[in-house]
């Protein structure tokens, strides 16, 4: 391998996997794996950097009918990159079997891990994270022309070294536009995570950015109690509860009236009444009593460190991530036939 001093050009679309050295896997999904990597060559400064490389196996993308979703992911990630609470997109490339998204490495691990470790967050902690998420949703929905994120959950929120949120995994994000062209503003493909699905998604009524506000309500509930409001071993029973049952709160831990109110207002089945979707949008959410005392300018400028400071000892430290098997279970061949049929879909990479 070339160990020369020539700088590594990340903007080049000619990157290949051999430009990177794998450190270890940070997470796995149904058709993707995220690995911590270092540049394999370039200047010394280049080689001291670390990145998260998301690898999507083409055969699985096709098999799971996620072609549209991976294309949206690539497009939207590069569009929204640079927001303080969104993982930064660096480059994309592809080879015969894989699509790759090169992202900044966020060393603090998943908020999910901390939530399970602490069992639940107190209201100040929950408010801190919820406030950062409100700003992300305001940005996606209102400043980016109607991007629905569609997979809000603690597993998709990473903490950076200062304890701030980074939203990752835009695999289900979709630009719904604002209907100034011929396209509908609502979309119909069911996707998300069972406990966090909005009722209109379950009923296939066509859904919009309003699904993210519903999910924020579920998320605040899970922050405060340690579990989501609708749960059952059988997913069908979860869906039944979501469309039929009101959110109920436990006696222990006690949830403040303001927190109960914002959760109820976000988790409102009727979208014409759901906070965030009604007149005023995100501004109304920010004005809710639950967020009393939040300095929104300080929040977006990240003037305060987060309530949890991840134990990150050096930039490429991966101790905050769980350990995953390094090999994929399945390895279907991406045949020439498939390449001829599908490679056109992947030209953005």
């Amino acid at each position: 391998m070339d160990n020369g001093e020539a700088p590594l050009d990340l903007a080049s679309r000619k990157l290949t996997l051999s430009d990177f050295q794998k450190v270890r896997t940070l997470g796995t999904g149904t058709f993707a794996r995220v690995v911590l990597v270092r540049p394999a060559h370039g200047t010394e400064e280049d080689r001291s950097r670390v990145y998260a490389l998301k690898m999507l196996r083409k055969t699985e993308v096709i098999k799971l009918k996620q072609l549209d979703h991976v294309r949206h992911e690539r497009r939207i990630l590069s569009d929204v990159s640079g927001h303080p609470f969104i993982t930064n997109f660096v480059a994309s490339f592809s080879d015969h079997d894989f699509l790759y998204l090169l992202l900044d490495y966020i060393p603090g691990g998943e908020l999910f891990t901390y939530l399970r470790k602490y069992r639940r967050f107190d209201e100040d902690m929950a408010r801190f994270y919820a406030a950062e998420i409100v700003l992300v949703l305001e940005y996606l929905h209102e400043q980016q022309g109607g991007i629905a994120y569609r997979d809000m959950k603690p597993e998709n929120l990473l903490l950076d070294a200062e304890g701030h949120i980074k939203l990752v995994d835009f695999g289900f994000a979709k630009r719904l536009g604002n209907n100034d062209d011929e396209h509908a503003v609502e979309t119909y493909t069911l996707c998300g995570t069972p406990e966090y699905l909005a009722p209109e998604v379950i009923h296939n009524k066509g859904h919009t950015t309003a699904v993210d506000w519903w999910a924020l309500g579920i998320l605040i509930y899970e922050f405060l109690t340690g579990y989501p409001p609708f749960w059952h071993q059988n997913p069908i029973e979860i869906y039944k509860q979501i469309v039929e049952k009101p959110v109920v709160f436990p006696h222990d831990p006690p949830i403040s009236p303001a927190a109960q109110d914002i959760i109820r207002q976000l988790c409102t089945v009727d979208r014409s009444r759901r906070l965030g979707n009604i007149s005023g949008g995100a501004a109304r959410v920010k004005a809710h009593p639950f967020f009393n005392g939040v300095d929104w300018d300080a929040t977006i400028q990240q003037r305060q460190r987060g309530p949890i400071i991840p134990p990150v000892r050096y930039p490429g430290d991966a101790q905050c991530f769980d350990i995953y098997p390094e090999e994929d279970a399945t390895r279907d061949e991406y045949t020439d036939d498939m390449a001829a049929r599908y490679d056109d879909y992947f030209t953005d990479f």
Binding site: T30, K65, L67, C191, T193, P311, I323
Partner: protein, 391 residues
């Protein structure tokens, strides 16, 4: 280059702390395995089972959380939902669907003829199911039409197999079926491979509804318990498409109707779409008074189908006729003034209606919308067109 050439400098599973947490990999496998727990769910939560819940950090961590003493939460934490599973949750997704009007292909829902008795039984069988209970009459009729008969001639036929991808929902028309669950999450070979008998489904019952949402692996094996059984089958794409096409068509219709309402002419397409989303459909028989002169006005109406007329007190001749696409009562969005006329249905009518409060919740006060610069010369238009304007 394949991943085979992609080796870690530290070797697979390298962990600077050398913990045994690699075991937790079982928690993070793909959808299929997670979903296998659906019915059996023998998985008591991994929470507290030691390795799975050591938290992310090794002992040398500088990290000192408030709950540092709590290395391993109690195995049966008080207050948590029964058997709550604390593992990572996997995302789910159905195949992407786009409405016909978007894709220009041709699609009409399949329709398989049924006798009135069969239709009645099917209606009854799916009526209480939350995936069907919110459908309107047209959607219900299309869904019932799309169910296709599937004869199961002999005993012992496996209709669905635990662990296999599921694409169909079934209603039992005749006969009965046994339900087996293997705790491994999938049908195994051998005489006991189907696992334990956990239930029986008789005529009028149904199974496999999760397949109507997305392609999850089956949670059980279902086997015909007698000869000459009959099922009705419905596949996910047909089901979701019927719902999507009718919703899509109706929303576009509402949006085009709303475009014609002068009072709302300054709405952006996005705002119109929000209003279309909030409109509620109502049906009235012929001769029904939809709004009554003198009553306070709270909502406005779009006529979706049928015909209606407006009367004023002391005048038996209608002052206006309404047909599909017409609207009335929109001044209620502006003020609470009493209705200036009555509107009565002449035929069976379907209206889409929206209250002032819903409108204001979504878009703020109508006055604000009227004040927009685009709103020029519209006021007189309203007066000319709407007999409900207080004179």
């Amino acid at each position: 280059m394949s991943s085979a050439g992609f080796t870690s400098p530290f070797g697979a599973n390298s962990n600077p702390f050398g913990s045994n947490r690699v075991d937790t990999g079982a928690m993070h496998r793909v959808i299929e395995e997670d979903e296998n727990d659906i019915v059996t769910s023998p998985t008591t939560p991994n929470f507290g089972s030691g390795a799975a819940f050591r938290g992310p950090f090794g002992a040398d961590s500088a990290y000192d959380p408030p709950t540092a003493g709590l290395r391993s939460p109690p195995p049966n934490p008080e207050g948590y939902p029964h058997q709550y599973n604390f593992a990572r949750r996997t995302s789910v997704s159905a195949e992407s669907l786009k409405p016909v009007a978007d894709t220009y292909d041709n699609w009409t829902p399949p329709s398989h003829p049924k006798s009135p008795e069969q239709l009645e039984r099917l209606k009854h069988a799916i009526g209480g199911n939350f995936l069907f209970s919110h459908l309107d009459d047209e959607q219900s009729a299309q869904i019932l039409g799309a169910l296709v008969e599937k004869p199961i001639p002999t005993k012992g036929i496996k209709v669905i197999i635990q662990g296999d991808a599921g694409d169909f929902f079934y209603v039992v028309e005749e006969g009965s079926f046994d339900v087996y669950v293997n705790p491994t999450g999938a049908l195994q070979v051998g005489p006991d491979g189907k696992g334990q008998l956990v239930g029986k489904i008789e005529a009028g019952g149904s199974f496999g509804e999760l397949a109507l949402m997305y392609g999850a692996p089956r949670a059980a094996t279902v086997i015909s318990a007698e000869p000459h059984c009959t099922l009705w089958a419905l596949d996910r794409v047909t089901f979701r498409r019927i719902l999507m096409e009718s919703t899509f068509a109706r929303r576009r219709m509402y949006e085009s109707f709303l475009e014609e309402v002068p009072l709302l002419s300054s709405l952006t397409p996005y705002e119109r779409s929000k209003i279309a989303d909030a409109l509620e459909s109502q049906k009235f028989p012929p001769g029904h008074t939809i709004i009554r002169e003198g009553d306070p006005g709270h909502s406005f109406f779009l006529l979706e189908s049928g015909e209606a007329v407006a009367y004023r007190k002391g005048n038996e001749t209608p002052v206006k006729h309404y047909k599909k696409g017409d609207f009335f009562g929109e001044l209620a969005l502006l003020n609470d003034a009493p209705r200036a006329a009555s509107v009565v249905s002449q035929t069976e009518v379907k209206v889409a209606t929206l209250g002032k409060s819903a409108f204001q919740r979504l878009l703020g006060p109508v006055e604000g919308i009227m004040r927009r610069t685009k709103y020029v010369g519209v006021k007189s238009g309203v007066e000319e067109m709407d007999p409900l304007q207080v004179s």
